[in-house]
């Protein structure tokens, strides 16, 4: 038996993640993930900051789709302080969150294929489309990755008509790209042989281990917080939850492709329905101008959103001061790794890399 350290400096671990893998020949007979290489004590940093300033740090959790993190945190504090969100802002939030989901999913598929050996061609096709969305993010939010766009009871900048036209054009063009992407990948025999029946996760185990997001849905469990909690205004849109049958790597890949299609549907509906109006509640403007004067009432709130990685939860306890007493992030990237060992046992070492790639972790969120 051979014990090797996978990472922390290894390109296929998507950051500084380490696994100690026990091998018998090429077969994996034991795997222990080791965390903490990117630990910044995000929670303690946040506990010493006013509520509005924490928003900037939530960008740094899952830096591939900062807008989902913003959404989750804004939702939690609104729950805690009982703030209302104007209609237009609700729509803008959904539009931005769904765009972030598309960005995340195409990037993940690209990186997963990179791990698989499809070196850079699918990734760069995906990045070409991602680039268009990031350009839009830059025009609207001011930054490509660290958006810092949401604020309590609203968003910081309005989507202009020009921005909306750009999004509309993008949605019209996107299906053509997906067709091309699928022609390249979904029926490719090499991809099928590498991905099918690899890293199988049963629905029961997934539920018990708290796995969420596309990984859970690939195992056939119908659980999407957008449908369950109907946070924001997700109840107004008509979309489906794609489910997998087997729960292998291929299902996880394909569920993500289908989820992009559903996101496009939501975007299409949101763009036709979006009303005119305020983007931020007038009463909450003072939170932006004077963050330290914002003191939510004593209490606690747990808010969660369906981030592209899974359930992203924020647990905030207020003691009536400008800083939260306790701030906790329920990171999907971390909890989805609970079953990593089980999925990898008995597989080849090269498969462990794709299994990790298919779980979709971002180390900024895993280690916080």
């Amino acid at each position: 038996m051979l014990e090797i350290n996978f990472g922390p400096q290894h390109p296929s671990t998507h950051g500084v993640f380490r696994m100690t893998v026990q091998l018998e020949g090429e077969k994996i007979c034991g795997l222990k993930p080791v965390f903490g290489y990117l630990h910044r004590n995000h929670e303690q940093i946040a506990e010493n900051l006013p509520y509005a300033a924490i928003m900037t740090y939530t960008d740094r959790l899952d830096y591939v789709n900062a807008l989902s993190n913003n959404f989750g945190y804004a939702l939690t504090v609104e729950k805690l302080a009982g703030l209302e969100v104007p209609e237009r802002a609700q729509y803008i939030r959904i539009i931005m969150a769904e765009l972030a989901r598309i960005v995340n999913h195409i990037a993940v598929i690209g990186f997963m294929l990179n791990d698989l050996g499809a070196f850079f061609t699918p990734l760069l096709y995906a990045f070409r489309e991602r680039e268009r969305i990031l350009d839009l993010f830059e025009a609207v939010t001011g930054s490509r990755l660290m958006n810092n766009y949401f604020c309590f009871s609203g968003v910081k900048r309005d989507l202009t008509d020009a921005n909306l036209a750009v999004i509309k054009k993008m949605i019209l063009k996107f299906p053509a790209f997906l067709e091309e992407f699928e022609a390249l990948l979904t029926k490719n025999e090499i991809l099928c042989m590498r991905c099918q029946n690899i890293g199988i996760l049963s629905g029961e185990t997934a539920t018990n281990a708290g796995i969420t997001g596309p990984v859970l849905r690939a195992s056939g469990v119908n659980y999407d917080i957008r449908k369950v909690d109907r946070y924001g205004i997700y109840d107004r849109f008509d979309f489906k939850i794609p489910l997998g049958q087997k729960g292998d790597v291929y299902d996880r890949f394909y569920v993500r492709v289908l989820e992009i299609r559903e996101s496009l549907k939501i975007l299409d509906q949101a763009l036709t329905q979006i009303p005119q109006g305020e983007i931020i509640n007038k009463k909450s403007l003072s939170i932006l101008k004077m963050p330290r004067n914002f003191k939510p009432p004593v209490g606690e709130a747990y808010g969660r959103v369906e981030s592209p990685k899974g359930e992203l939860g924020f647990y905030v306890v207020s003691d009536g001061t400008p800083q939260p007493w306790r701030y906790h992030v329920r990171a999907p990237s971390l909890i989805n790794l609970t079953v990593l060992e089980e999925m990898c046992l008995g597989q080849k070492i090269a498969d462990a890399i794709i299994i990790l790639g298919s779980i979709d972790i971002v180390l900024g969120e895993t280690d916080r």
Binding site: G210, Y223, D367
Partner: protein, 224 residues
């Protein structure tokens, strides 16, 4: 969809009459942590709630005691959350040394068990019921020092094994990385690294005074 806390309370009172609990801020505080697995198992299996998904486990420091908070949801019935919490004392939580695998004995509960006051030093682990607690309980142990009894792998999660203290506790004091201590100097010199005399003297003075090199607390803008 929310489950009203009264409903759960009624059900629990009927089915588990021995368990003492009271509602705290839309959640159930279980007075004796030993009862927690019972309650969790009941909520998971009972066909009325079917709370099969433990979303979040986290700790919180309330100065006099530590709290472990659980958010339960039901994937089958698509409802929730139900929030459970248990309280443990601070002083009894010791750092298990992970190197040789032996745990430092946390102080035993003394005297007759008084439900009103928090006496328990440990929380029973929920890993056998919900596997999702595995990494999260390790995190809560790492950052707060709450000991989860019966956890299959009770190591720190983020910090390294030799790390002392629990960084999210309110009384945690950070080490000053600029000032060396005698042990640091010994470690460096064993590896052939020269340490300036100034630093050595400082370390000696600290050692003689029985102090550790702690960082100045950053000015906390708590006053608002």
């Amino acid at each position: 969809m929310n489950i009203p806390i009264e409903e759960i309370k009624k059900e629990l009172e009927a089915r588990l009459p021995d368990v003492k609990f009271r509602p705290v801020r839309d959640s159930l505080l279980i007075e004796d942590p030993e009862d927690l697995p019972q309650v969790a198992l009941f909520l998971k299996e009972s066909p009325k709630f079917l709370l099969d998904y433990l979303s979040s486990v986290t700790g919180a420091d309330y100065l006099d005691y530590l709290e472990s908070v659980y958010h339960l949801y039901s994937m089958a019935k698509k409802q929730g959350p139900v929030v459970l919490r248990v309280r443990v004392t601070k002083s009894h939580t010791a750092v298990p040394s992970p190197i040789n695998g032996s745990k430092t004995e946390a102080g035993a509960v003394q005297g007759p068990r008084d439900i009103k006051k928090i006496k328990a030093g440990k929380v029973p682990s929920l890993v056998s019921i919900y596997r999702s607690a595995e990494l999260q309980e390790r995190e809560a142990f790492d950052t707060f020092g709450i000991i989860y009894e019966g956890h299959p792998d009770p190591r720190r999660l983020f910090m390294w094994e030799e790390f002392q203290g629990h960084p999210l506790r309110k009384d945690y004091q950070q080490e000053d990385t600029e000032v060396l201590e005698t042990t640091d100097i010994a470690w460096l010199e064993a590896r052939g690294i020269k340490v300036p005399d100034e630093m050595k003297e400082k370390a000696k003075a600290l050692h003689a005074a029985g102090l550790r090199a702690l960082a100045q607390k950053p000015e906390k803008p708590r006053a608002g």
